[in-house]
Amino acid sequence: MSEITGNEIIHQYLRHNKKFPHVLCAGCGHGIVLGTLIRSIHSLGIPRDDVVVVAGIGCSGRLAVYVDFNTIHTTHGRALTFATGIKMANPKLNVITIMGDGDALSIGGNHLIHAARRNIGVTALVLNNNIYGMTGGQSSPATPLGSTTMTSPYGQLDKSFDTVELAKGAGANYVARGTVFHVRKLEKIMTEAIARPGFSLVEAITPCHTQYGRKNKYKSPVDMYKWMKKAAISVERYEELPEDQREDRLPIGVFVAKDRPGFEERYFAMKAEFQKKTVKGGK
């Protein structure tokens, strides 16, 4: 490991011909997630030519353009479908998708389920800010019950979707959650997620003060970070809490960690079998 740390590493990976600061709002956590992703890839020593960042549409989709990897900004909800094609076409690549909560859970929900079920060797980052930010703050599947948004002016009527439970249910190989307040922990799980075989999902809780916070009693971006600091609790400690104290707490950490071979590994193993047979048959 090099002695240089933090943002100096990140600066090396940013596209120097792009304009900074980036387009995201002041205090938006997405930049922190991007920084964390860069440090994770750096710490794994993966050459940048081998990294493919596939982003969806929305605020999170804008991240891809800033980093000097192979970057693809796809259509709304479809990042995982492009990623699946890329991984199958060239399994040597490290394919990482960046999606928002509306992107991954609403319009792209089916793709998420099947990427997990198929166990395709892709790392999915779900940047959950509880809102559709880019389009001006409409409610998303992750918007908490009772929250005020542009499309739920009288309060969100349904319960927010639990990304972790969804991924677990769909059979993902590795499922973890972190927040942009607990950056070191987020970096650790992100690094692990990228290094694992098969499908890994990391939900990063990242606040949107502009579209969500302001309308829901978080006066400044800082208030949202304070909320994360207070609400987040390690999954181990969360499990020990009695039911009635779990209400407002946000378990973070690793929920599932398996090592099942990825879809692409199984596919290419099957192909290798055929090739062996042909060689044998040929003699």
Binding site: R48, D68, T71, I72, H73, T75, F82, I86, A89, N90
Partner: protein, 381 residues
């Protein structure tokens, strides 16, 4: 011509011939979702591709994902395709637009069935012609090809891949249920008897590479992801480097180039077959399985003393205007039979500009337009 090696003959379905053509063209990636009447393409691919050297087959969760996956595979350097029908084609429109904007070569085979909606799943129709042209939103060029018999299914699939790679664009091959589900004897061409075009890859140092550069041909070289040329791909309007841009001059440059790269090669893209058109008074303009009926009708009309001819469209879009104008030089009337309410006759009328009467024969009952129906209209003079 030199004496050629005997070609292998097989008795194959139209859908099977598509697979043969795709493999000959170098297709090594298929992503799809089953739907009648295109399913055989997928089934045969699932058996064939894993046994080829680098072939990848994957069944996706829906048609949206199928398009996404083949675009991803194409960006990673593969010749990729999918096949679908009716409702699946509707779902593919979203990412079809992405492939146009990101200039990603892919081949999309749509075996048309009756619509709208679930429609007539197992009956033929030609109702997706204008959807193929204008289905995805925005102003865009597109190449749409067609085939009217099983041999052509093979040949036009090869052509579709070649055009996709040459022009860095998605190419749609529109088949119909009849053509796809007819078995016929076809000849598999030997290596060297047909052209295989593969996208050019950049040969300059990566720092100097621009993925969307203005070139003479309008098409930039395209490296596979992971080969050292790191760049950004987006469905947003972008500059020459691929980065999003809203500057009017850059938007115009991009949009004009993606139109121009198709427009200036009409002579290469617009394919037709002319049967007895040279002296024809009555010219039938047809495509797909209806062109077969028309061929018989034209032949029978000639036997009955009427100078009839057939202009068979193999390229539907960009519409072969030049060829139509040539037959208009002497034709006294045009007949456009098709299995829809008149989707291609619009294009014919547009070129005709009222010069000669254009008569249409339209069937939307899931039945093919028969030779006798066409003959009847021809004989009306």
């Amino acid at each position: 011509m030199a004496r050629r090696k005997k070609r292998k003959e097989i008795f194959a379905l139209g859908n099977e011939a598509v697979v043969e053509g795709a493999l000959l063209a170098g297709c090594s990636f298929y992503g799809g979702y089953p739907i009648t009447p295109s399913t055989e393409i997928m089934e045969i691919m699932s058996a064939r591709l894993p046994k080829t050297e680098d072939g990848v087959f994957i069944q996706l969760e829906d048609e949206i994902a199928s398009m996404g996956a083949i675009i991803g595979a194409s960006l990673a350097g593969r010749k990729a395709m999918t096949a679908t029908s009716g409702p699946g084609f509707s779902l593919m429109q979203e990412n079809l637009g992405y492939a146009i904007m990101a200039e990603t070569p892919v081949v999309l085979v749509n075996v048309m069935r009756g619509g709208p909606s679930t429609g007539l799943p197992t009956c033929p129709a030609q109702g997706d012609v204008q959807q193929a042209r204008w289905g995805t939103h925005g102003d865009h060029p597109i190449i749409v090809l067609s085939a009217s018999n099983v041999q052509e299914c093979l040949e036009m699939t090869i052509t579709a891949f070649n055009m996709a790679e040459k022009y860095r664009t998605p190419v749609i091959l529109l088949l119909d249920e009849v053509t796809a589900h007819t078995r016929e004897k076809i000849e598999i061409p030997n290596e060297g008897e047909f052209e295989v075009f593969s996208r050019t890859i950049p040969s300059m140092p990566p720092e100097w590479y621009k993925p969307y550069e203005e070139t003479v041909r309008g098409v930039s070289p395209m490296p596979p992801i992971g080969s050292g040329y790191r760049f950004h791909v987006t469905g947003l309007t972008h500059d020459r480097n691929g980065f999003p841009s809203q500057r009017p001059e850059e938007v115009v440059e991009l949009m004009e180039r993606i139109h121009r790269k198709i427009d200036q090669f009409f002579y290469d893209i617009q394919l037709v077959e002319e049967i007895d058109t040279d002296d024809a008074d009555v010219v039938v303009i047809a495509y797909g399985c209806v062109a077969r009926s028309a061929e018989l009708a034209v032949q029978q009309a000639r036997e009955n003393g009427v100078k009839a001819g057939l202009l068979k469209l193999k390229t539907l879009f960009p519409y072969p205007r030049r060829h139509t104008e040539r037959v208009l030089a002497h034709a006294k009337s045009l007949i456009v039979p098709e299995m829809n309410m008149g989707q291609m006759s619009r294009e014919v009328k547009r070129v005709n500009m009222g010069r000669v009467p254009v008569r249409t024969i339209n069937r939307i009952d899931g039945q093919i337009v028969t030779p006798s129906e066409i003959l009847k209209v021809i004989m009306q003079g």
